[in-house]
Symmetry: C2
Subunit: 412 residues, 2 copies
């Protein structure tokens, strides 16, 4: 059976990356990996989840193990709607919420209901590689807007929209603690973006997995809120689809996320989700809701995450300062899980990874996160600081510093 | 924001059905519903699952709550491979297995990697409505092969393939206890189909959610096994993709299914699944494996399901015999969850449903399961017997009989 001739054309957009193969090595226990985007498992509220699961199975076992609606558990949708309304800027109805099998699913479903081949999509550069992976099979045409330490440069977006007001189908952004850079769109730019979206009626996908993991100051308003404000509305009836998740604030293994959007969008997404996986794990939804019912649980737990991840970020930044050679720069995130390193022009992060892995340190090269000609972002890589213990952060960054110094010396 | 102009062309293939709206009424507690495809929740091994979950969270909590690989939990893949090899007809490797978020996901992912617009797909008529819903957005061209009490009429398939040997991309069938009819493809036809697939190198999607729920005799060999046999192979390297699930044998709320296929297919499916939902709930997989580790658990539980569902089928068949008017016929399943009723030509099951719902009884009209011109199968409907308690089966079928008698009398 020759399967190669059987696959659909869209599969040509999917390729197994060489990086993925290198990163398989990171499961070795002596490897110090900054590669994944994993939360710290030692902080998982395991005992609290055990207790919650026992309660759920004791009190509502049959219901928690049965098929359920595609839309998701009513109480959980209600909880999310209430929380999203808490800032006073929005009146979110449970009908605006669709529960998903993790927020990656929102990427897939939204692309499915919105993107035809050739549709033009605006992204920030670099952007989330998992979005590119999910959307490329739909063969959209990406337009990249550059970023700086304050996120997508909205001043550069404005003329693009003005020149071709009806040209674009969708804009994608992670405004808060972006993956891969860890940077955040400033308050001014968010408001500006909200006004542009409202003015042009341009749909936006606001991806917000990290928004709660703030290290300094207050959580910023979402673009969802600001687009509504620009229209003088408090309802989710505009052009922003907002994707959230409990993977970073509770645990990823339950696979529970959500999308909040205008009712016509939710209606279409429900139809697609039903054909895709019927519904999200009933038990996972019941456990999640049982945890959230305790009004202290999430706040206390997120406070711990913020404190520990901030310490790890501080330690990584300090060690980078100490161990990395001159000419190498990096972002300084104020929340989230990642920072991004830029090597001198002409260096190749994949080559660095090959050397680093020999020294038992791993990271993700940056080129996969970039839209643009082959080689764009080849001198960048992403580091995760949430998943490694402090002593391993220090050790790993020092080893990486030595690798870089050696490679740069050999080149000079 | 006018969303209607924004949606992708493929969404035109998706429509919210009026039947779905009627069936929303079935959640009323006094409604006797034969509509869903739900297992009997009173048989769920809730205490055993509570225990298994507690063990998992106690012993491997951090791992069970963390992100995991797209392929799925190694032990669970190993267990499935071993079980699929148990008949001695196949050597299934864990690498042939991909764990899914329920087996509905196999439909979506396989379509995604195989179907281009206009690709020709062979199905049995009637066929699973959830497959039609999942595949229609890929705009394939369906060719329907008729069925009788022994499943898809392979004698009718043979000349179709002979006439156009390279015309078809894929064949879809539920050989065992088909949804909606409950009928089963005979052993001879399975072997015949296996030979045809091997001869033409035609890919098949074998959907097998109900195969374990045998009421009489032994479980039949799968087409996966018989296609391999026709090629003189014991490896999964042929043209059949086999989809299985724990939704019917354990509980659906965990959302754990799998697909078994040749390695190049698994490779592509893994790439698509990663973009779709990263991976299946880690906790659900760990709980499932913890249950299956007990060698008695599944066998004992499935034996109970077989006994109880057989009793319910018997009761439904006996009550149909007693309560339904002459001129109405139905299938006699030897396993699974469903049977299908055929009304006299010219009657419309949607109209019957409207009357039945007034009498607090519900079912699913059959036309949605049929491929063909508008109105095909309009005089059929599906009844589920696994989910209703015995006294409600009797009461519901009697009420339905009265509705039918009245409607038929009014017509005469």
């Amino acid at each position: 059976m020759n399967w190669d001739t059987q696959f659909a054309h869209r599969t040509a957009q999917m390729k197994r990356s060489t990086v993925r193969e290198i990163l398989k090595l990171t499961s070795q226990p002596d490897m110090i990996s900054f590669a994944g985007g994993l939360p710290a498992p030692e902080l998982f509220p395991v005992d609290r989840i055990r207790e919650a699961t026992d309660t759920v199975l004791h009190e509502r076992g049959r219901e928690a193990l049965q098929y359920s609606t595609t839309e998701g558990m009513a109480e959980l949708r209600g909880w999310i709607a209430e929380r999203m309304s808490a800032s006073g800027k929005l009146n979110v109805s449970p009908d605006n919420i669709l529960i998903l099998s993790g927020s990656q699913q929102a990427l897939d479903l939204c692309a499915r209901v919105l993107l035809d081949e050739g549709d033009r999509v605006i992204v920030e550069n670099p952007t989330y590689v998992g979005m590119l992976q999910a959307w490329k099979p739909y063969m959209p045409d990406f337009t990249a807007i550059p970023t700086d330490e304050n996120g997508m440069i909205i001043e550069a977006l404005e003329p693009v929209l003005a020149a071709e007001p009806d040209a674009f189908k969708l804009l994608y952004s992670i405004p808060s603690f972006q993956n891969p850079q860890g940077t955040t769109m400033s308050a001014n730019r968010r408001a500006h973006l909200g006004r542009l979206l409202a003015h042009y009626g341009l749909p936006m996908y606001e991806d917000d997995p990290y928004g709660d993991l703030v290290f300094e100051g207050e959580k910023m308003p979402t673009v969802l809120e600001l687009e509504a404000e620009a229209r003088g509305s408090r309802d989710i009836d505009g052009s922003v689809m907002y994707a959230g998740t409990f993977s970073k604030t509770l645990t990823p293994g339950l696979r529970v996320g959500w999308v909040a959007a205008a009712l016509p969008v939710i209606d279409k997404l429900v139809q697609v989700k039903q054909a895709t996986d019927l519904h999200t794990s009933t038990l996972s939804q019941f456990i999640t809701y049982e945890l959230l019912r305790d009004p202290q649980m999430l706040e206390t737990h997120v406070a711990t995450l913020r404190r520990v991840y901030r310490e790890r970020r501080d330690l990584m930044l300090a060690t980078l300062e100490e161990a990395f050679p001159e000419g190498v720069t990096w972002t300084r995130p104020t929340g989230g899980l990642f920072l991004m390193v830029t090597l001198p022009e002409g260096m190749d992060a994949v080559q660095v990874l090959q050397e680093a892995v020999k020294q038992k340190v791993a990271f993700v090269p940056g080129d996969g996160f970039y839209v643009g000609p082959e080689g764009t972002g080849a001198n960048t890589f992403r580091l995760n600081y949430s998943n490694a213990r402090p002593e391993r952060i220090v050790e790993g960054i020092r080893r990486l510093g030595s690798v870089l110094k050696e490679m740069m010396a050999a080149k000079a």
